[in-house]
């Protein structure tokens, strides 16, 4: 088995007749926290479902932990845990009952660890799921999933609809209790700014196609943002940046690679944010349109 936990080559996925993921290739190594970004309908959930064997691939190859997700789903889910975008625990169950059920259903689940993680939250073991707030349900779900001795965690917009405190608590638990440098996380969210500091890599999907798959380190090496005065806007536009946008105190232009020296001299280097990069790469076909 390679060092990559996930390896996709020319992967194509469909929902009925619609191509949801179109001929993408990427890999996820061990110990990485990968953000999966994309607009609604970009194919994020489809891709994640395929990764856990809930969707059949229609082209290319996909291996997760060296396994074929759909054909070896049961074996795969022993090493991969998944919180879907509709993270709904069964409402009739008590949290303690879910721990007991997961002990019988998952060979790598530790009931003791789940109880320890839940003690960090305000979730009572005797509480029925239907009596918990949305934030508490997500916390309980993460505690259950984090108690699985898995190698890869897949989170599909896990904090959707949560308030800022619940989101913070969720990410703290994720980083403190699960990420250990060996395990990887693939997480999709629209709250890009909130998780930017947690990520080691990012993948951007745009209408089913992979717009970018890169480490955050390499983003700084590859993309250059130049802050500039409005007076030199024409010159900047003439250099065909990926995106022009406003920053505090002026404007900025984002370039893929080094900008021409004549233009570079007109501005000051800024660190491109993930959001700006995402906007720049997923606004096709008007890639050169400004954001003004």
């Amino acid at each position: 088995m390679s060092d990559h936990l996930v390896e996709a080559r020319n992967l194509t996925l469909r929902y009925g007749a619609k191509v949801a993921v179109d001929d993408i290739s990427f890999h996820i190594p061990k110990g990485r926290v990968v953000g999966l970004l994309g607009h609604n309908g970009a194919g994020k959930t489809t891709l994640m479902k395929a990764l856990v064997g809930l969707l059949r691939q229609r082209g290319g190859s996909l291996q997760v932990m060296g396994l074929q997700p759909q054909a070896q789903r049961v074996q795969l889910l022993q090493s991969v845990c998944y919180i879907p975008d509709v993270a709904i625990l069964p409402r009739w169950a008590r949290v303690g009952e879910l721990i007991s059920l997961m002990s019988g259903l998952h060979p790598r689940f530790s009931a003791e660890r789940a109880r320890a993680l839940l003690r960090r939250t305000s979730v009572d073991l005797n509480a029925r799921v239907k009596t918990l707030s949305k934030g508490m349900v997500v916390q309980a779900h993460l505690a259950l999933v984090a108690a699985i001795d898995a190698k890869l965690m897949i989170l599909d917009e896990p904090t959707l609809g949560l308030d800022v405190l619940s989101r913070k608590a969720f990410y703290e638990m994720l980083i403190d209790e699960w990420c250990d440098g060996e395990r990887s996380v693939l997480i999709s969210t629209h709250q890009v700014e909130e998780i930017e500091s947690l990520l080691s890599d990012v993948m951007m999907l745009n209408e089913g196609r992979l717009a970018l798959a890169i480490s955050l380190e390499d983003i700084d090496k590859r993309f250059v943002a130049l802050g500039h005065d409005p007076a030199v806007a024409e010159e900047m536009a003439a250099a065909h940046p990926l995106l022009r946008y406003r920053v505090q105190g002026g404007s900025a232009a984002l370039f893929d690679g080094e900008p021409p020296p004549s233009v570079a001299a007109l501005g000051r280097r800024l660190r491109p944010s993930l959001v700006d990069l995402f906007v720049a790469l997923t606004r096709a076909p008007e890639a050169h349109r400004t954001q003004f």
Partner: protein, 307 residues
């Protein structure tokens, strides 16, 4: 990897955790109501149109006890079975309806075992448990009935050895009958389950309408009455699963028969009748039933695979 039996037992425990309240209500309320009626109310049973009634105080204590015990068992079984057949179509869609399907699908359990567990729990285990509870509850109920209408001392002087043997024999016979009847009815049950899984609330109407249309067209247009005949055969076999007896089967039932002699002969009759019910399995109709059920099961698994 968790072995399949452990996963199945855990999934069965999930059924218990999710449905225990409803199940307990179904199996405990009827005996409790019966007990309250017996203790506080007036019981009169018309046995025909000529205003003849059973006078309980004139019925032998043994007959009263037997009728109460077996009546409790059969009534509880019928209630449980009826509830099961009514609610079974919703079982296959409940996780989709409460949106917890994604949670269950994220666990390393096979689709087939995940579909099997609720069907096993609802169609067989719960009715079997209801039968057992009804038969057990019938014993204290019989104490109340006999004490009320005949006298408490008569209950203690019942032939308990004979009664216990008959109790065991009838419990086992009814249990076997339930399993075999479910087997015979499985094509219809599974067809409704599969239709409900795929067509949601239109599943049952689609099955009823589909069968009616296909059967009538085949019979009236093409002269093939086989669909109706198949349905009749299935229901006939389901009925015989409980009582497959025929004349000369060894027990003289009816008015005037000696209750103790009848009771004493019951285990032998139950054994012979169980044999006849099992023998009835050896026919091509069963293979057809199993094939239809297997196809519907595959449709249920496919539905779950698709989330």
């Amino acid at each position: 990897m968790n072995p399949t039996p452990q996963i199945l037992s855990t999934l069965l425990r999930r059924e218990w955790l999710q449905h225990k309240t409803g199940w307990l209500v179904i199996v405990t309320v009827p005996p409790l109501i019966g007990l309250l009626v017996l203790l506080a109310g007036q019981v009169t049973i018309d046995i025909d149109d000529e205003d003849r009634t059973i006078v309980f105080s004139q019925v032998p204590a043994l007959a009263l006890a037997v009728a109460t015990v077996f009546g409790s068992g059969v009534l509880t079984l019928l209630l449980a079975w009826a509830a099961t057949l009514i609610f079974a179509p919703t079982v296959v869609r409940r996780d989709v309806q409460d949106r917890s399907i994604e949670f269950w699908l994220s666990l390393p359990t096979g689709h087939a075992v995940s579909v099997t567990a609720p069907l096993l729990a609802h169609l067989l285990l719960f009715p079997l448990a209801a039968l057992l509870i009804g038969m057990v509850a019938g014993v204290p109920l019989s104490l109340a009935v006999v004490a009320r209408f005949v006298g408490l001392a008569d209950w203690f002087s019942l032939p308990w050895g004979t009664l216990a043997a008959a109790w065991v024999a009838m419990t086992l016979r009814l249990a076997l009958g339930l399993v075999l009847a479910t087997l015979w009815l499985s094509p219809l049950i599974m067809l409704v389950e599969a239709a409900s899984a795929w067509l949601k609330r239109w599943g049952i109407p689609a099955v009823v309408l589909g069968i009616a249309v296909v059967a009538n067209v085949l019979e009236k247009v093409f002269g093939y009455p086989q669909v109706w005949e198949l349905g009749r055969a299935i229901f006939t076999q389901a009925g015989r699963a409980f009582v497959a007896g025929h004349p000369g089967s060894g027990v003289a039932f009816g008015r005037g028969a000696d209750p103790q002699a009848m009771l004493g002969a019951l285990p032998a009759w139950a054994l012979a009748d169980a044999g006849r019910a099992l023998q009835a399995l050896a026919q091509p109709l069963l293979l057809l039933c199993l094939a239809i059920s297997a196809a519907c099961f595959a449709l249920l698994v496919l539905r779950r695979q698709r989330g």
